[in-house]
């Protein structure tokens, strides 16, 4: 697990990656080792990790690795984004960053839904880590249902005036932009809204969550916020919302990849722990209960890995049925819940304190069955295909 080049998976074949992917993985891992892991405890004390981290990641060529080079991206493919997210999951500091490094998904929103000019104007900023953006969909009472959005954008000459609020905005305190979904006279549209020094924008202090991390979410309020009309994502394209929401597959898959990597990390950490701790004169590993639990965990992870790698490949070749990403998100998040729970239990009292990453990984895992569409919503989506 310690070598930068070793894949901290279960050791089985993953033939989906090229040499170039593996090199990208090494750079990403080095970044987490060098820039994140030594600093994360301090950031927790500071209250939030610095925006600077994005610029460093951009300089290292880690952001927008799957976005075409013509827009300033790395010109790689979907597996590059996946690898970045896997390495987030493989890092023992991963949970302490919350979902903070997953901004590539919002770059995809611009890529999928923006006009040519907008892509050329904004995407390079994403790739450099200068733009830190989120898709602003969820509101207090509406959840993630676009049909019930209350935020409005009213046309006023060459501008739009925004009113409303968005919840659960990851990286709230350091966000530079929000891609706000709002109702207009013409229908529901998206607006690329600068947040810093914009009149009428208020970003709440980040919300107190179950997981105490160095990242977090905020609520963001818009009170008569004036935005130039050219910031309307995709211009007047009626399909811009649908195009933007098509990134949901990207989001679900890379999150599934991050969760699964976190399970593999938890497994290895737990194996290390139980092989080094003794109770009643023998290693904890030597109890049959421990071995049976670990065998079950290893099996579940291997099954999830086999499944997910197949989907990643299918997505790379453009043959993924959208319901498959829903199933992957559903199953892997529920599997992660079981795995983290069992691993924490094998740590005993040590698992509950923050001295080992497992306690935060457990608390982080709990939100995975809720965000990006709850397990219930995924089941509704899947059931529609039956």
């Amino acid at each position: 697990m310690d070598g930068l080049d070793a894949l901290p998976g279960l050791g089985f074949d993953r033939p989906i990656f090229s040499e170039e992917h593996n090199a990208f993985r090494t750079s990403t891992r080095r970044f987490f080792r060098k820039e994140v892991e030594p600093n994360v405890r301090q950031w927790e004390k500071d209250g939030f990790f610095p925006a600077e981290l994005f610029r460093k990641a951009g300089q290292a060529g880690l952001l927008c690795a799957g976005i075409p080079a013509q827009y300033g991206g790395g010109g790689g493919d979907f597996l590059h984004v996946t690898i970045f997210n896997e390495e987030h999951g493989y890092s023992p500091a991963g949970a302490a960053l919350e979902s903070g490094m997953a901004t590539d998904t919002s770059a995809y929103v611009v890529l999928f839904a923006g006009t040519e000019e907008q892509k050329q104007e904004w995407l390079p900023g994403f790739a450099k880590g200068e733009i830190i953006a989120e898709l602003g969909l969820t509101e207090g009472q509406s959840g993630s249902d676009p049909a019930s959005i209350q935020t409005t954008a009213r046309r006023d000459g060459d501008d739009f005036i925004l009113n409303g609020s968005k919840m659960w905005m990851t990286n709230g305190p350091i966000l530079t932009n929000l891609i706000v979904v709002a109702r207009t006279e013409a229908g529901t549209r998206l607006f690329f809204v600068p947040l810093q020094n914009t009149k009428g924008v208020t970003v709440s202090k980040h919300t107190e969550l179950m997981l105490k991390s160095s990242g977090g979410v905020s609520e963001i309020f818009f009170d008569e916020v004036r935005i130039p009309a050219r910031n309307q994502l995709g211009g007047d394209d009626k399909r811009s919302l649908a195009n933007a929401l098509a990134t949901v597959t990207v989001g679900r898959l890379v999150t599934a990849a991050r969760m699964l990597a976190a399970c593999e990390l938890a497994y290895h950490m737990t194996v290390d722990f139980v092989k080094n701790r003794k109770a009643f004169g023998q290693r904890i590993f030597d109890f049959q209960n421990t071995q049976f639990k670990l065998a079950s965990i290893k099996t579940e992870i291997a099954v999830g890995r086999g499944y997910l790698d197949q989907l990643l490949l299918r997505n790379l070749h453009g043959r993924l049925d959208p319901v498959e990403s829903a199933m992957a998100k559903l199953w892997i998040s529920e599997m992660e819940g079981r795995v983290m729970d069992e691993c924490l239990q094998l740590f005993g009292g040590a698992g509950y304190s923050n001295e080992y990453p497992i306690s935060k990984m457990y608390a982080f895992a709990r939100v995975h069955r809720i965000f990006l569409g709850t397990s219930e919503i995924q089941r509704v989506t899947i059931a529609r295909t039956i």
Binding site: W168, M210, K278, Q345, G348, Y352, S353, K360, Y362, R366
Partner: protein, 383 residues
């Protein structure tokens, strides 16, 4: 909505005690717990008030300065604390007053007269220190030593995952007085926190139960008088055992009450929150899952009531049945609160909703006071 319990097990006097403890928690704990969480500790004033009201060291007789409560008072405290919002943050701290019970049962007359009155008044709090960095639940492998030197013991060693470590005024510490005897060479010795050589180590940050002051303590040539020995030399495990069964009905009771709280919160939340045009509670999946929870709560309640009834009849708690309760109720709590968080959606992950705190608090209940694995070992051996 208050906690539902089995009223016929309690007398009129207990009902009064319950009502007043419930009122006390609502006004003195629930109302302030958010400030306490920011400050990182429960203020002295809370303990002073609790002492004045007779809610501390409840089992200690009046002649030793205690309120003279009985077994059912302890059950009431567990239930009401488990059901309160503050309970998720303070329960291990407040229930830690079970130390008074252990000291009362095992201590000398002198020790009783010295420690019980200030503990009952909330002036002094004690911790119970067994676990060491390398011992886990395996008490026999502790290494803290107490060497007799004239009228004193010289204590050296370190303890971790000690509840109340950050705040307690004294600790009952498991030490090896005769290392060659293994389990039978362990003695419990009171160590005051103001003795030279006593070191309060780090407070350990945890997933939840943030106010329990869990942390490390260490002893560097700490000298205490031999009169600080609790019970006799080598009787350490016997002392530990006197508290165990009580612990193992206390935590299942808290687990049940906390589950009931999460359930009640979830019923209210899903009634008020709408999705796709209807109240969340009206989705069949919600009702089915709530029905399962309600069923589990009823089944778990019946089992706890059986233990209480046993105690009232025999004056004892059966070790194996307590172990079963310590397995089943916290695992039920895990299932129920997990589902309650799920039905809250994003709100369930925000600490302003009680279920978020109940969830992280609950995770500890399958681990401490005897892990689910140790309990399975015990029950397994009884077959």
């Amino acid at each position: 909505m208050p906690y539902h319990y089995t009223r016929e097990l309690f007398s009129e006097e207990h009902e009064i005690f319950r009502a007043s403890y419930r009122h006390f928690l609502e006004t003195e704990a629930d109302a302030h717990v958010d400030e306490w969480l920011k400050a990182g500790r429960v203020p002295q004033s809370f303990f002073t008030k609790a002492g004045e009201m007779g809610f501390l060291a409840v089992g200690v007789p009046e002649e030793y300065g205690g309120p003279g409560g009985d077994f059912l008072c302890r059950v009431i405290i567990a239930e009401e604390l488990g059901y309160s919002v503050a309970g998720a943050s303070i329960a291990p701290l407040v229930i830690g007053d079970g130390v008074s019970e252990i000291l009362f049962h095992n201590g000398s007359e002198e020790q009783r007269h010295k420690w019980m009155p200030p503990m009952a008044k909330g002036e002094v709090r004690m911790g119970f220190a067994i676990t060491e960095p390398d011992s886990g639940s395996d008490v026999a492998s502790i290494r803290t030593s107490a060497v007799r030197d004239g009228d004193e013991y010289i204590i050296n060693g370190a303890k971790t995952y000690i509840g109340n470590a950050a705040f307690a005024d004294a600790f009952i510490v498991a030490c090896k007085t005769q290392p060659e005897l293994g389990m039978k060479g362990i003695s419990m010795i009171i160590v005051e926190a103001d003795r030279p050589g006593f070191v309060r180590g780090r407070k350990l940050e945890k997933m939840g139960s943030h106010l329990s002051g869990t942390g490390e303590i260490a002893f560097q040539d700490v000298r205490v008088p031999v009169s600080n020995l609790v019970g006799t030399e080598g009787a350490g495990m016997k002392v530990v055992m006197t508290g165990l069964n009580m612990d193992r009905i206390t935590w299942p009771s808290i687990a049940h009450a906390a589950s009931q709280r999460a359930f009640d919160e979830t019923v209210t939340f899903t009634r008020n929150r709408r999705s796709f045009g209807q109240a969340i509670i009206d989705f069949q999946n919600t009702r089915f899952k709530l029905a399962e929870m309600k069923t589990e709560l009823a089944v778990g309640r019946a089992f706890l009531d059986d233990l209480i009834r046993d105690y009232l009849k025999t004056g004892k708690l059966d070790t194996i049945r307590c172990a079963m309760a310590k397995i089943w109720l916290p695992e039920m709590e895990g299932r129920i609160i997990d589902q309650c968080v799920q039905f809250h959606g994003g709100a369930g992950y925000m600490d302003e909703y009680p279920v978020s705190r109940l969830y992280t608090a609950a995770r500890l209940h399958r681990i401490f006071a005897g892990t689910a694995e140790i309990m399975r070992l015990m029950v397994g051996r009884s077959i």
